[in-house]
Each structure stands twice: as structure tokens, then as C-alpha cells.
Symmetry: C2
Subunit: 232 residues, 2 copies
């Protein structure tokens, strides 16, 4: 039995299910691109299928450790139960701006998105559960884990952690100006990009915060994950 | 045969499928709340099920006219084909801020989300198709429709418009400060809310924009939809 980590592998080719069909040049399949978008996305949307075949899409936050995506929620959470050992799609999207073309038809958005297909698996091992909760917390609020009271036994019993391997994923990225038809270039219509940026406002202390608790640096410096890095 | 519009009905009770189970007080089912969140959300995430039972979640933009949600895309778009006369879930989420509690366990987000369940139906009627495209364009970029070259016959043939009735939908909203356990209130841990806001940056003219095309007011004033209204 080997305990050594496997050597880094070349990224797998996209599966038929994850290959970007619409504007193929916008498709990316390397782990670095997929990971960067997952790490920068504020939240993700998780799709599962009920017993009667109805798809349900639920927003949640996520964390990542290496090639594994983690979700969490209440132990009885319907979405986490719905993806347990079942097929799941997790999609994370960042909108970077509006692309305004001369024609309505060529309007678009600049965006970065990842679609992950896989199966959810409830994590039972205590160290992996705690590491996942730390990854989820630290991705959205770096420095928070070491500042707070950590989960106790009762809270951990009330929490489900679910693992989804990042084995089948694709990214889709659009950047740059509009692509108008040549015939439209001399129209008297403004064309270009309006960037969108998300920023953190002034922290609002809880009404019951003790007066001698100072604002820590990690909160004062907090930036939304999609505000930390500009798109390429 | 009556052509009169039906009288406004009281909002239907939530279906078993759309009732908010986790923190029921955060659930809302009235049309005004559902519509306001759909109108303010930058994009939505659409879930459908492939023939082999795999859920797929795809980001897209949406528009709304009264009680109907509209999506659009290329005529052969896999997602729009996947939801045509098939069950679909459309979920739109706005994150308004991070909720930082004394305990890791009570961390949360302030958010507004809507989950719509229904069936997609490809729209064939020309006036409804054009009205849907206008609603999608104007929701994300008010004033844009009248400024641009409108879709021509060839572009309309290349475009699919899909209707989803807003008959089964629920909203979930969290606002306000963290809710820490009483035992944690005297910890030396900063607690409160860090609001997130999305704003538009300076418009970036297309490199091939004719030099005499001025920046129109509707672009200069453009604000992301989720930046136009604060949460309650």
C-alpha cells in the first residue's frame, strides 16, 4: 500500500458532457483555470434531481482543497441529501461586465464560469470534515478561522460536509470588447464594455458587540473573492 | 372565448416542492417579492436533466414580463433544448453581504434568492419573442433597446426564446446581524456584517468605435441590477 501522493497528471481531456459546444474557443479544461474560477466565485449553484425527475438548483458557498470541492450545510439539508451518492452539477459564475454591441444580437457578458459534474459523497472522517469547514470559511473570509470560536461536537453533529471530486469540469471565459458585424461598425451606436466590480462596504458591527472588541485587520481588509483578482 | 385578462389572484400557497424548509421564517411566496428578486439578480442558473439522469446547471441572463420568465440563446443551445417541454429549475441569487459571527458555526450570508420550478416552452409567436428579447435587454441595460440595431430576420432565426411560467416559485431572504449563541456574546471576537455591493466601472469604448460616437446617458448611468436597490 503506497501512501505517496500520485504524480501530477496532465489535465484529462474534456468529457463529452463537459466540452464547451457554444463558442468552443471560450472553453478551458486545465485544473489551474478551473480552480482559480472556483476560488474566486462568491457562491455556487448546485443542481440535483428529485426522485420524480425534477431538477432543483440551490445556491450555497463552497470550499476547495486540491482536487476536491466541499459543500456544507445542516445535517438534514434537502440539497445535501439529494446529492448524496447521486449525480450533481455545481456551477460557479462571476460576471465581470456587460458587453454592449451595436446590434442587440451581439450583446454579451464578460464572465468566468465553471461547470462541475460528479457525485456527492457525505464526508464522515473528522479531520477531513474540519479541514473542509476551514477551507470554506477561509476562502470567503481569509483569517476568520483562527479568530473565531471553532465548531464544537454538538455543532459538528448538526453539520453535513459533502465532497465532490473535481474530475469532470470545464471552464468558460469571455473577455474583451464586443464583436459586431462589419456592416454595423459605422452605426451611430456606442459599443464597448461596462465592467462590474464587487467590493466590500464598511463593516457593520453587531448591535450586541461588546464595546471593547476592536475591528480586526482581517475584517477591515476583507474583499469579496471575486473582487480580489481581475480577469485576464 | 374570453380575451380579458383574469383578475389578480391571491398568491398561491407554496407547493410542497417550493416551501422553504430550512429556517422557514426566511421563506416568501408572494409575487411581488419573487418578481423583485428576479428583476434585481444579475443572472440566473438554470438546471435541467439529461436523458441519462445527470443534472446540468448553466448560467444565463433572464427577463421577466408579468408572471412569465424568459430565457434566450442560440437556436441549438443545449440547455434551451434540454428544458424544452421538460422540467426546469431556475434559481437567481444576490449576495448582499457576509455575516460574521463569534462562532464559525453561526457564520452566514445576507442574500436574496428565488427558486422557480416549472417547464420550459419554446416561444414561436414573433411578437412575444421580440417582447422577451426587449425585456431581457432592458432589465440588464435600461435604455439599450432603443439605442441599438434591433434583431433582423436572420438573427431571429438563429435565436431561441423560452418561456417559463412563474407559477411555482419561492424566495428566501436573510438580512440583519449574526445570531450568536448567548454563551458566545462575551467572546473577544468581532461580529457583524460586511456588506457587498456591485457597481459599474468606467465604460471602456470598443477599440473600433468611431471617434464621433458619444457616450450615451443610458451607458454613463448604467448600474448593475443588484446595485440599483438595497435589500430591505
Amino acid at each position: 500500500m503506497s501512501t505517496a501522493a500520485p504524480p501530477p497528471a496532465a489535465p484529462p481531456p474534456p468529457s463529452k458532457r463537459t466540452r464547451v459546444l457554444r463558442v468552443p474557443a471560450r472553453g478551458h479544461y486545465d485544473a489551474a483555470t478551473v480552480h482559480a474560477i472556483l476560488d474566486a466565485a462568491p457562491i455556487c449553484h448546485v443542481g440535483y434531481v428529485t426522485d420524480d425527475g425534477q431538477p432543483i438548483v440551490i445556491p450555497t458557498i463552497h470550499g476547495r482543497i486540491d482536487d476536491t470541492l466541499y459543500l456544507h450545510g445542516a445535517a438534514g439539508n434537502a440539497m445535501l441529501r439529494g446529492i448524496d451518492d447521486q449525480p450533481v452539477s455545481v456551477t460557479a459564475t462571476i460576471v465581470d461586465g456587460l458587453v454592449l454591441a451595436r446590434s442587440v444580437f451581439h450583446h454579451s457578458m464578460n464572465y468566468r464560469s465553471v461547470v462541475v459534474l460528479g457525485r456527492g459523497l457525505t464526508v464522515e472522517e473528522p479531520d477531513e470534515r474540519m479541514a473542509a469547514l476551514e477551507a470554506i470559511t477561509e476562502r470567503i473570509s481569509p483569517g476568520r478561522w483562527d479568530h473565531c470560536r471553532l465548531p464544537n461536537e454538538k455543532e459538528l453533529r448538526a453539520t453535513r460536509v459533502t465532497r465532490i471530486p473535481l474530475a469532470e469540469a470545464s471552464a468558460k471565459i469571455r473577455t474583451g470588447p464586443p464583436s459586431d458585424d462589419a456592416d454595423d461598425l459605422d452605426l451611430d451606436v456606442w459599443a464597448g464594455v461596462v465592467p462590474w466590480t464587487t467590493s466590500a462596504g464598511a463593516p457593520e458591527p453587531a448591535p450586541d458587540l461588546l464595546p471593547d472588541v476592536a475591528l480586526p485587520d482581517h475584517v477591515a481588509a476583507m474583499t469579496p473573492p471575486h473582487g480580489r483578482n481581475s480577469p485576464q
